[in-house]
C-alpha cells in the first residue's frame, strides 16, 4: 500500500480546506458569487476525494447511509419548513418578513441564509449518495450490508481502477 501513502497524505491535508471553502461559498451566497448549490457540491467533492482515496468502506464509516439519507430529506424540509413557518405566522408562503416582522429587510436576509443552508445540505448529500451508490458495484460484495469484507479498504479504488483500464472486461457484476 506504499504507493497509496502519497495520495492519502495529500487527501488528508486537502480535505479540511475543501470543506471550509465549501462552507464559505454556502455562507457568502448573497455577497459573492456562489450559493447553496455550488457550496454543496464543493463540500461533497471534499467527501468524494476522501472516499476515492480511502475506499468506500471508510467513507461509509464517516458518513453512514442512514445519515446521508436523513440529511437528503432534511435539506428540502428545512427549505419548505421555513416557507411553512412564514405561512403559520400569518404571512404568505415563503414571505421571509415573518422571520423578523420589525424590519422586513433583515427578515429577508435571515430567510435567504436559512434557505441556502437547506439547499447546501441537500445538494451535498445527494452528490455523496450518488458517489456512494455509483461506486457500490466496484467493491466485490460477499453479502454483509455495506461492510466491504476485511480486505484492504483501498480495494474499492483498486478494483475500480483495473476495471477502467481500456480493453479489460467489465468487473464481474453480480446479477
Amino acid at each position: 500500500m506504499r504507493e497509496q501513502s502519497i495520495l492519502r497524505v495529500a487527501a488528508k491535508m486537502m480535505t479540511p480546506f475543501i470543506l471550509v471553502f465549501g462552507l464559505y461559498v454556502v455562507f457568502h451566497g448573497d455577497i459573492s458569487p456562489g450559493g447553496g448549490f455550488q457550496g454543496g457540491v464543493i463540500i461533497a467533492s471534499g467527501f468524494i476525494l476522501y472516499g476515492l482515496v480511502y475506499g468506500g468502506a471508510d467513507m461509509r464509516r464517516v458518513i453512514p447511509r442512514w445519515l446521508s439519507d436523513a440529511l437528503l430529506a432534511l435539506g428540502v424540509l428545512l427549505y419548505a419548513g421555513t416557507g411553512t413557518f412564514c405561512l403559520l405566522a400569518g404571512y404568505r408562503f415563503l414571505d421571509y418578513t415573518a422571520l423578523r416582522p420589525s424590519s422586513p429587510g433583515t427578515g429577508e436576509v435571515i430567510g435567504m441564509t436559512l434557505v441556502e443552508y437547506g439547499v447546501g445540505f441537500t445538494v451535498a448529500m445527494v452528490m455523496v449518495t450518488i458517489y456512494n451508490e455509483i461506486s457500490e458495484g466496484t467493491v466485490p460484495e460477499d453479502g454483509g450490508d455495506g461492510s466491504a469484507t476485511a480486505e484492504a479498504p483501498s480495494s474499492g479504488a483498486a478494483a475500480g481502477r483495473d476495471a477502467i483500464r481500456p480493453g479489460t472486461a467489465a468487473p464481474p457484476s453480480a446479477a
Binding site: S32, P33, S173
Partner: protein
Amino acid sequence: MSLGGHYNYWIAILLMMIGLYPVIAKPNLIKKILGLSLFQTGIFLFYISVGKVFGGTAPIYFEPAGRDPAMYTNSIPTALILTGIVVSVSTTAVALAIAVSIKRAYGTVEMYDIENADRDDQE
C-alpha cells in the same frame, strides 16, 4: 468591425444539434445520455447569451456602476439557468442509474441487443 448580431445564438443552436444527433442515432445508452447533456447545455448557452449586455459587468453590486441596469448583465437568465443546470444533472443521474440497472438486467447497453433480448423473451 463587430461580428454580426446573432453568432452566439447560432453556435448555441449548433451545440444543441450536435447534442440531439447522437440521442437519435447512437444505439449506445451512454452516448444518448451524453447527447442529452450536450443538448441541454446548448439551450443554457442560448439563454445566457439572451441576457448579455455589452459593456455591462457581472450582476454583483459595486460602487461605480451603482444601480443602473445598463451597467449590469441581465440577472434573470442566469437565475433560470442555475435551476436548469441542476435539473440537467438530476436527469443525467436518473438516466445513468437506469442505464446501469439495464446493464445488470440485460448485460448490455446497446439498444439493438436489448430489443433482440426482449424479442426472444416474447417467444
